[in-house]
């Protein structure tokens, strides 16, 4: 259990750093989702399952959906895809 806890804490810190350092906004949102998921497991280990449920539903679910909706609204997703296509890495639509 101790090992799992340390692994999860390291994952949370790594995800938090990655969110700050990622340049692609869509990737940042997905990484943020991962962080919330790891946090919800940590709440479960710390014996507060109610917080775990809330974290999973709000942090990983609704929060990231709001982020995706916002990214779609400001057309950040389309922009990043277009940039990839221009660089020749993306596949043809």
């Amino acid at each position: 259990m101790q090992v799992l806890m340390i692994l999860l804490l390291v994952l949370v810190i790594a995800c938090a750093l990655a969110v700050a350092l990622t340049k692609n906004l869509l990737t940042a949102a997905v990484v943020f989702m991962t962080q919330s998921l790891a946090l919800s497991v940590i709440w479960l280990i710390l014996e507060s399952p109610d917080l775990g449920i809330t974290e999973a539903a709000v942090g990983a679910g609704v929060d990231s959906l709001l982020l995706f909706a916002t990214l779609k609204k400001i057309r950040a997703i389309d922009a990043s895809i277009r940039r990839k296509e221009e660089d020749g890495h993306g596949e043809a639509p």
């Binding site: 340049k23 906004l25 109610d50 449920i53 679910g61 609704v62 709001l66």
Partner: protein, 318 residues
Amino acid sequence: MAKLRENLPSSRWGRFLRWLREGDDVLDRSMAEALEAPAPAPADALVPLPIPRRLTRTRQRNLTRMEKRLRALYVVTAVLICSGIIALLLVTTAGLPDFGDPDNPANNEVPRHYIEKGLEETGAVNIVAGMILDYRAFDTLGESNVLFVAVCAVIILLRLHSGDPRERLRDEADERSREPGHDIILQVVAALIIPLILLFGVYVILNGHLSPGGGFSGGAVMGAALILFQLAFGERHTARFFTFRTFRIVSVLALGFYASAKAYSFFTGANHLPSFITPGIPGKIFSAGLIPYLNIAVGMVVCCTMYALYSLFRKGDV
């Protein structure tokens, strides 16, 4: 020394410096792209647009001395403030008492009273529910109101339609054309798991006084299920049971019930009024006085609020 300077651009320190220098440029560029992206493009205009590079190239060249100095000052100040806050947080964290230490200052007579007398006084097996919906019910009332006010603010900011029905129709048609359409995989999977998610949410709310969970958790789960339904089947199906009217009625009724049941704490302080509602037999589903009903009210508010927030963000209307 000269060799060091030669290697600087490719060394880690050099890359770090470059990242510091160009860090804000990256943000500027993506924002500029987002702003200069075409307004709602018709489907046939799929011409790739030139991405403005001027922000990176030309600005670097035309920097005057003053600008350079200001930029250096900006970077230095940012790094200083950042390290200061990090150091402050670390020092504060180091000064916190150990996790789970019985001598912690939080372990005074209040939690002891809650733990020893909570079951007897509130009838809730889940002591957390007994605390937040009985002893400290006015705190939870404040929290629900904060959520409600947040949604009101989002509605004021993001709700699009004025009164013109023609504009409204056009907006709706526009929105419908941009919907993902009939994604059969998503629809089948959603039809399978949405009832289960909703059921789990109802379970968490109704058992809030018996097991971990409660109004907020269950409401969030149900709200997520509603959002999934909207994503899979589109807003036309959602509008059959959830409109702005539903949101208004449910929110006002639930918050009004909660406020009328628990707002007296603001006048009597922590001393509760003597109540004719008895705690009942602990462990039964109909027990713990008002707590299950308050849980249902909070769950309704949270569920509707979650869905309304998503809907407002997505299409500017509920």
